[in-house]
Homo-oligomer: 178 residues x 2
């Protein structure tokens, strides 16, 4: 059986600065009409910055939708025309000041594939040099450094809740064991 | 410094069946006005179903926003008034037919905390009995069973891209090692 859903008509409902909401008319695999509400997003990158001592550099910031502070790896939206690797270099430097990193691609993350097109490209960064942060105008972040093992434990304990951080940090810990 | 952002006015832009889009007027930590576009979502659950032989039961389904099939752990939105544990029992049975499972809560996942309020409550399910699937009317899923180790490898290789699946499966593998 072919499980794919056919687009009958794309309907753009809200064309925002970051979010673009669609409610498309579709046909289900059984041929019945239905609709799908979803958000288009330009994609993003995230980076696990690891020092030679296997410390990880995290960012603490306020996440308005969650009404709380979160501890996350550095990350951000791709700029138009930018490759994921270029975005990873830029976001790492903007949020943490770290430069000249060696970046290793460790896969893609679909954050909420039922409702959101967002794909996050994940990287490990090593061999970087320190520099000055220059976050966006509406971005307020605090750097938090800890051993990678401690970050893994905070994920296992349920203290770190951000999806990309859970996935990329656990992946990094397992990849470095090999 | 207090990093929190103050709500000046909540503005509901689109009130859909699943997605509720807001564009709120806020004040940044430095007191400057700004706005935040985000989606409210009722929350969800996901379950890592593990047999006695340490096989994991995954579901393959078409994800319209991604225009592709994905391999994911069983998951779904919470119904109104339902606790996460009740939702996990229901979704596991609907998507896979598995019943009478012992469920262990392994933490929360914020899928995209900059733009989406969605929280996924993660569980490991063991000790279940087989039964009949009864998915939603617009849901077409195929069950895929494989050793847990193989699913971990597919995540490390970048083949499994869904965020909750990456996070919950890696977490399960590390928790069971302890």
């Amino acid at each position: 059986m072919d499980f794919s859903e056919k687009t009958v008509k794309e309907n753009l409902i809200f064309d925002g600065k970051i979010l673009h909401l669609y409610k498309d008319d579709i046909l289900l695999p059984n041929g019945h009409p239905a609709f799908r509400e979803y958000i288009r997003h330009q994609g993003a990158v995230c980076v696990v910055p690891l020092t030679e001592q296997k410390d990880i550099i995290l960012v603490e910031q306020y996440r308005y939708p969650m009404k709380s502070l979160t501890l996350e790896i550095p990350a951000g939206k791709l700029d138009p025309g930018e490759t994921p690797l270029q975005g990873a270099v830029r976001e790492l430097e903007e949020e943490t000041g770290l430069r000249n990193a060696d970046l290793r691609f460790i896969g893609e993350l679909y954050t909420s594939p039922a409702i959101l097109t967002e794909v996050i490209h994940m990287y490990i960064a090593t061999g970087f040099t320190a520099g000055e942060q220059h976050p966006d105008d509406d971005e307020f972040v605090r750097l938090v450094t800890m051993p990678l093992d401690k970050a893994v434990q905070k994920i296992l304990d349920g203290e770190i809740k951000d999806a990309k951080t859970q996935a990329a940090v656990l992946k990094t810990a397992l990849l470095l064991k090999d």
